[in-house]
Symmetry: C2
Subunit: 519 residues, 2 copies
């Protein structure tokens, strides 16, 4: 068989079941090979950033890599922003990039570019297959690399002649590394810190935000009086009624500093040390108090849950987790204009059991965590790397990974426009995704940042570059144009009716939440 | 003044008048600085690929760089595909990438990535400003680098603290290099080749496809019996009635080989040696006959027109250029289904004098060159680097560069979906752009390539990954949702009426040419 056929069979044998694809000529043999391997499902995306974002969503929900099939350097480049988010999320993800035939590269054809350099900016593992006989083993290595804890982007570059030349045989799956066990010594050191009596905070990230780890962390907090905080942008946070609740570290560094004020011992479990998202004149780069010591209980690639459980057994043997009580906000009444706060209340009131929430609501999302805290258990997927345009693709992949769960994509209008063609894939695959566009007709975050950076001026040229109001974007028209039923809500009552309907009816829907201007 | 203010004033002083922007927090001081410098106009784009493609279109029409303002690594990454096209077009283009503050980078904040590595994949010049006092001179150097013949992408990385720190003073413009004069010796050598009597072809590219060079080349062909061909994908080709006509080298290598069959002497003027766009099993990488000698009259950065004129004076002193006669196709009659061939005839019949055509029609564009050959003089801008998603952004920049000329964006449906949000900028700036979407509901080129690469199979999974028919995309809805008046044409008569109306009425329009399926 040819290299492509052997690679596709190898991937299926390694448990890769989904390939989000935006292929071109150099990927035609790979595409053709899918015909013979129904275990590997191709999902067409109209833009590479949709394919990579979908693979990110899939990987977050399954802890296994999906493939994203990309076309040479420019195709990879279009996918880099969401690969960047996947890198920050530590998602297992396999990027497969077709390239010119090996002998053709020296001719510098129009699509020739430095794929390897591009790939290394977002990948923890990059390999270029040299022969059809090697490609299957390369593919098996790539899957193992992607899955190696804590998960990473692995990029396999497949020259066209490697895919079309005979001589490939399927390779066996390569077992990924297992998470490293945290040494007892480290756990005892952290136990000593917690017994020391100084104000302590555990900052949880990565797999520490899954239920078993959260329950162990909750026992630690109950037993020692230490505080719990979650990293600001979690890849996947299990939350809701019955699961220990945990506040997120704030986005703005001065607010995060307020949350950490008084903490003398900061213990990291699966999270990196906190840092300001951006630098600002006269503001610190980190919210960690100067007199606070930072300890690492477990790094992202470690057995974080196991470390938290061992620590809990040591410092809080008799403590029990403190679950979040069930509770939903009242539905806002009145037929006044819809606000982001009212929309959050509606979402909290209606969020279905087992929902997967893909949150790129940005400024409009401020009220969401509180409004949904006591809703039935759900997963919350955040914008991990700050590269906007993630939400609609992420929902695509999450829905394919979790076909029995409702997916809610909460999107800002500015961010939605980066990868709006994901809606077409929602329609094509009839995914059970309800997209809410928080339409405030502005890059609202930048209006804040213009003030916060001290750059604000009195002129109009700058403000005009942050406005999405001229013309206003009709998201219902965009959605309908791509086959997604859509409606617009201008009042809380309308939003309630439309969200209830969208959640009840299978398949994709879009609601444009036309927000009243902020006062 | 701060670094941003000094940079913006420097850019204005260097003749940079347009900044296509998709800014973020790290660019806020640059954005604010625009308030005080009305000579530098900010044009908001909703996606970085629109900003970079627009800067490409602007640079092709003016031979001066526009700036594209991008937000850190992910923002640059989103712009890379169209920067790749600009690199292949040799367009003068200034990419300005904001970065974290210098002191903040070590904290590895979520948006941190290797901007420099990304930039080098598409730039001929990259610099990272270290201090506000240096940034203005860096900006002046960047403009000069972008303009240095034949034109290139110059990327200036501006850390946030460099923009907000005082100590900047505007820098003087730096004169760009001038095109190199081709030595008389080379011109005489090529003259000897032409006098040698063997079948010769001149392959013209870059600035050799502007009118003065075309007239010199036409004299050479008339005087020596040599043939003229144009590179397949020209950055800007001046053509139409009164200008010497020149066939393009075909896209498919076997067709190009047919055009070059019998040529024993190939002379390059501003063009690279021809190469197959992709490699195919059993097909050559180049269409140049094995027994053909290749000579370089002038490279892209040389004074190509001057070299052609000197050569013409030498080998064809009394010859005169052979202008293309005026002539338009008849308007197709009948109310049958619209075909790509009929649409091309309508375009040829109605193309306005002085039009700028941005051609990303791909397979549907096959009939366009012949149908428009005798239309009034116009510029033809092609997809130079093969990174699709270029046409709508390119038209944006071309329209801003040439406000008195009508712009016609000819788009394939698959390609249009990469950067469709350019339509919003068309509406916002009320640009005189008529967009025609050739909607065949397929990645038609890939259906051909599936055959040509020998990858064709009998299964459905592969074919399904090349189909845009499930669901069909309603481009009139997409356009209306972004503020562009739109209509759909299913017959030649409808297309004629709608194109005539769109060309007559100022401002943006979109026509979805709903093509009948190919038989």
């Amino acid at each position: 068989m040819n290299g492509a056929q052997a690679v596709v069979q190898t991937l299926a044998g390694c448990g890769v079941t989904t390939c989000f694809a935006n292929p071109g000529t150099s990927e035609m043999h790979f595409v053709a090979a899918l015909d013979a391997v129904p275990q590997l499902r191709g999902v067409l995306c109209l833009f590479e950033g949709v394919a990579t974002g979908a693979a990110d969503g899939y990987g977050r929900m399954t802890d296994r890599p999906a493939a994203a099939l990309l076309h040479l350097g420019p195709g990879l480049a279009n996918g880099v922003a969401n690969l960047h988010n996947a890198r920050r999320a530590r998602t297992p993800l396999l990027a497969i990039v077709g390239d010119h035939a090996t002998y053709h590269k020296r001719f510098d054809a129009p699509l020739e570019s430095d794929i390897d350099a591009l790939a290394w900016t977002v990948s923890g593992w990059v390999r270029r297959s040299a022969r059809s006989a090697d490609a299957p083993a390369d593919a098996a290595d790539a899957v193992a690399a992607a899955q190696s804890p804590p998960g990473q982007v692995a990029t396999l570059i497949l020259p066209a002649d490697v895919t079309w030349t005979d001589g490939g045989e399927p390779a066996a799956a390569v077992p990924p590394r297992r998470p490293a066990l945290v040494p007892d010594e480290v756990i005892h050191q952290v136990a000593d810190v917690l017994h020391g009596g100084e104000p302590a905070t555990l900052l949880l990230g990565g797999t520490a935000l899954r239920r078993p780890a959260l329950e162990a962390a909750s026992r630690i907090a109950e037993g020692t009086g230490s505080r719990l905080l979650a990293e600001t942008f979690a890849a996947r946070h299990e939350r809701g009624a019955g699961i220990p609740a945990i506040d997120r570290l704030a986005y703005f560094v001065e607010l995060a500093a307020g949350q950490l004020a008084g903490t003398r011992q900061l213990i990291l479990a699966g999270a990196s040390a906190p840092v300001s998202f951006f630098a600002y004149p006269g503001k610190p780069s980190t919210p960690v108090p100067a007199d606070c010591q930072v300890h690492v209980l477990a790094q992202a690639g470690d057995d974080v849950a196991g470390a938290l459980e061992s620590l809990a057994d040591l410092v809080a043997p008799s403590a029990v987790p403190s679950p979040q009580p069930a509770g939903r906000p009242d539905l806002p009444d009145g037929d006044g204009n819809l606000t982001a706060e009212a929309a959050a209340a509606v979402i909290g009131a209606l969020l279905p059991d087992g929902a997967v929430v893909c949150d790129e609501a940005n400024t409009s999302g401020l009220w969401l965590p509180a409004a949904t805290a006591g809703a039935p258990p759900h997963d919350w997927l955040s914008l991990t790397g700050g590269a906007i345009g993630q939400g609609l693709p992420l929902a695509t992949g999450a829905a394919i990974a979790s076909p029995d769960r409702p997916v809610l994509a909460l999107e800002a209008d500015g961010s939605a426009m980066y990868t709006a063609s994901a809606l077409w894939t929602h329609a094509r695959e009839q995914l059970d995704i309800t997209t809410v566009i928080f339409s405030n007709r502005s890059y609202a975050i930048l209006n804040m940042e213009l003030q916060r950076t001290g750059a604000a001026t009195t002129g109009n040229a700058a403000r005009d570059l942050l406005a999405l109001s001229r013309p206003e974007i009709d998201f219902t028209a965009l959605a309908a144009g791509m086959g997604v039923p859509a409606s617009r809500a201008a009042t809380a009552a309308e939003f309630t009716t439309q969200l209830r309907h969208s959640l009840a009816e299978p398949g994709p829907h879009l609601i444009e939440a036309a927000l009243a201007p902020l006062r």
